[in-house]
Amino acid sequence: MTVTAKGSVSSRVRVQQFGRFLSGMVMPNLGAFIAWGLITALFIPTGWIPNEKLSSLVGPMITYLLPLLIGFTGGKMIWGIRGGVVGAVATMGIVVGAGIPMFLGAMLIGPVAGVCVKYFDKSVEGKVPAGFEMLVSNFSAGIIAMLLALVSLMAIQPVVAGLMHVLQSSVGWVVDHRLLPLASLFIEPGKILFLNNAINHGVLGPLGVAQVAEHGKSILFLLEANPGPGLGILLAYWLFSKGTAKASAPGAIIIHFLGGIHEIYFPYVLMNPLLILSAIAGGMTGVTTFMMLGAGEVASPSPGSIFAVMAVAPRGGLLPVLAGVAAAALVSFLVAIPLVKRAAGSMKEDEIADSLSDAQTAMNEMKNLGKVESIVFACDAGMGTSAMGATRLRKLLGEAGLGDIKVTHCAVDEVPRGTSVAICQKSLADRVRASNPGTKVFGISNLVNASEYQGIVDELVALRRDKV
C-alpha cells in the first residue's frame, strides 16, 4: 500500500471547500427552516389559518432555534459535538445581543467556537493529570463557551446597529435621487441579514404611505415585498441542484411564493452566497419593470406572498405588478442557474473527493497505527466470536513478530475508550464506529479463516516497518 504525498491545495479547491463548508452548516437544518416556514405561513395573523397560540412558535423559532442550530452545526463541523455545543452557546450571545434573527452571525461564530475549543484541546493534549480529564473537558468547554457568548453579546450590537444605519441611509439616498433600481443593491443583502424590517419601517414605509396619500399608490411597497427574486432562486435549486437542497426546494417555493414567508429562501442563499447576485439582478429587473409600467401598491403587502401582492394592487394596476414579479423571477432564475449548477457539480466532485480524502485519511490514520499497542476484538456479548477472533489474532501476531501487541476481547458496548484498533464481524462495525469515533475499526466477514486476520496483521507489520 503506497501512501500518496499530500499535494498543495489550489485556490479553486479552497473556494470549493469554503462553499461546501457553508452549505454543510445550513443543509442539515433545512428541515427546521421548512417547519418554521410552514408554521409561519399558516398561523401568523396574516397567514392562511391564523391562530394566536400556534403562531407563538414563530418568533422564538426564528430568533433562537434556527440560528442556534446553524451555530451548533458550524461548531460540530470543526470539532464534533463538543465544538457544536460551544458553538451553540456562543451563538446565543450573538442572537440575544442583536435582537434580530442572526443567521449570518451564527454562521460566523459557530465555526469560530469550534476552532477555539479545538485549539484548546490540542494544546492540553497529554498534559492533563490522570483522573482530571472529565473535569478539564467540561470546564474548559464551559469557560470557552461563556467567554465567546459574552464577547459576541457585547460586540454584535454595535455591528448590527451600524449595518442598519448604513443600509437605511443608503436606501434613503437612493430613493431621494430617484435611482430606485439601485435600491436592490442594499435591500436584497439587507433582507438576508434580516434588516429588511429596519429598511421598511425606517425608510420605505413612511415614504410609501406619504406617496399613497398623494398619488393613490406607491412603488416603494414593492421594493422589498416582491416575491420574484426569491422564487427565481428556489426554482433554480429545484431544477438544477441535488440532494436535500433540491428536494426541499418545492416546499420552500410554496412557503415563499404562496405563503409570503421570504425568510425561507435566505438559507438557500447563505449556502451559496454568490446567489445574492441573482437576488439583486432579479430585484433590479423587477423595480425597473415597475417603474416603466408605473406600478404601485396601495398598501404594504404583508406577508409578501403573491396573493397579498395582488390583493393590494390598485384598481387597474394588477398587470404591471404581476409583470414586475414575473420579470424579477425570470432574471433571478437565469442568473441563479449557472451558480446552482456549479455548486451541484462540485457536490458530485465532492463525492469523489470525499471518497478520495476518506481513503487518504484512512491511510494517514494507518500511519499512526504504527504505534498500536493493543487491539480489541468486539462482539455482541463479548465472549463468543470475540474470544474466537482474539485467540486467532494473538497467534498470528505472535507468528509475525508483533507479539507485544495486546489482544483483548469485549462486548461492542464496552470497547475501552482510547482503543486505537478494534476488529469485529462486519455487521457490528457501524455500531463500534458510532460509539468509538477515534478508533480504527476493521469489520471482517470470515472469522474462522486466517486470511482476513492475516491481512490486518500484514498491514500492522508494514506500518511498524515504515514508521522506523
Partner: protein, 157 residues
C-alpha cells in the same frame, strides 16, 4: 467441556434439516438446546432479535453461522448444537450467504472453557475437508466419527 466433547456426549446434532428461511432454521436447530435444558425459549428468540437489530452478526464464514446471544437472555448452562440444512438459507450476508451449517452456542460466562470451545469451532470451520465431510454426511454416525477425528486433530495442534 469442549465443543466436540459436548456434541459427542449430548448428540445435539441434526442433519439435512428442512428450513424455509433463516428464522425457521434458527428455531428448528435451537429446539435441540431448549429440549435438553441448555437454554430457555427466549434465548432462541434473542438470537433472532439480535440478527434483526444488528444484521447477521453471527455469520462467521462462507455458509457458516454461529447463532448465539448474550448469557442473560436465557442461558441455563453451556451447550452447543450442530445443524446442517438440506438447502442453504439467506441470512443477509452478501459474502457468506447462503448458510447451510449452523453451530448453535450457549455460553454462561467468559470462562476459559468457552474460549477453548471457540477455538475448536474456529479450527473445525477453517478446515475445508471437514466441512465437506459434514455437508455430505448421510447420517449422524458419519458426523460423530468426523467429530472424533477432528477432536483428536485439534488436541494435537
Amino acid at each position: 467441556m469442549g465443543f466436540f466433547e459436548y456434541l459427542l456426549n449430548n448428540r445435539t446434532i441434526a442433519l439435512n434439516v428442512d428450513a424455509t428461511d433463516w428464522i425457521d432454521a434458527i428455531r428448528k436447530g435451537g429446539a435441540m438446546l431448549t429440549d435438553n435444558g441448555t437454554c430457555e425459549q427466549k434465548y432462541i428468540d434473542a438470537m433472532i432479535n439480535g440478527c434483526v437489530r444488528n444484521g447477521p452478526y453471527f455469520v462467521i464464514g462462507p455458509g457458516i453461522a454461529m447463532p448465539h446471544s448474550r448469557p442473560e437472555n436465557g442461558v441455563l448452562k453451556a451447550g452447543y448444537a450442530l445443524v446442517t440444512l438440506k438447502s442453504g438459507v439467506e441470512f443477509g450476508d452478501g459474502e457468506n450467504d447462503p448458510i447451510d451449517v449452523l453451530i448453535f452456542m450457549a455460553a454462561k460466562d467468559q470462562a476459559s472453557h468457552t474460549e477453548e470451545a471457540m477455538s475448536q469451532i474456529a479450527e473445525f470451520c477453517d478446515n475445508a475437508d471437514w466441512l465437506l465431510e459434514l455437508r455430505v454426511a448421510k447420517d449422524a454416525n458419519a458426523v460423530i466419527d468426523l467429530l472424533k477425528r477432528a477432536e483428536k486433530a485439534c488436541v494435537s495442534r
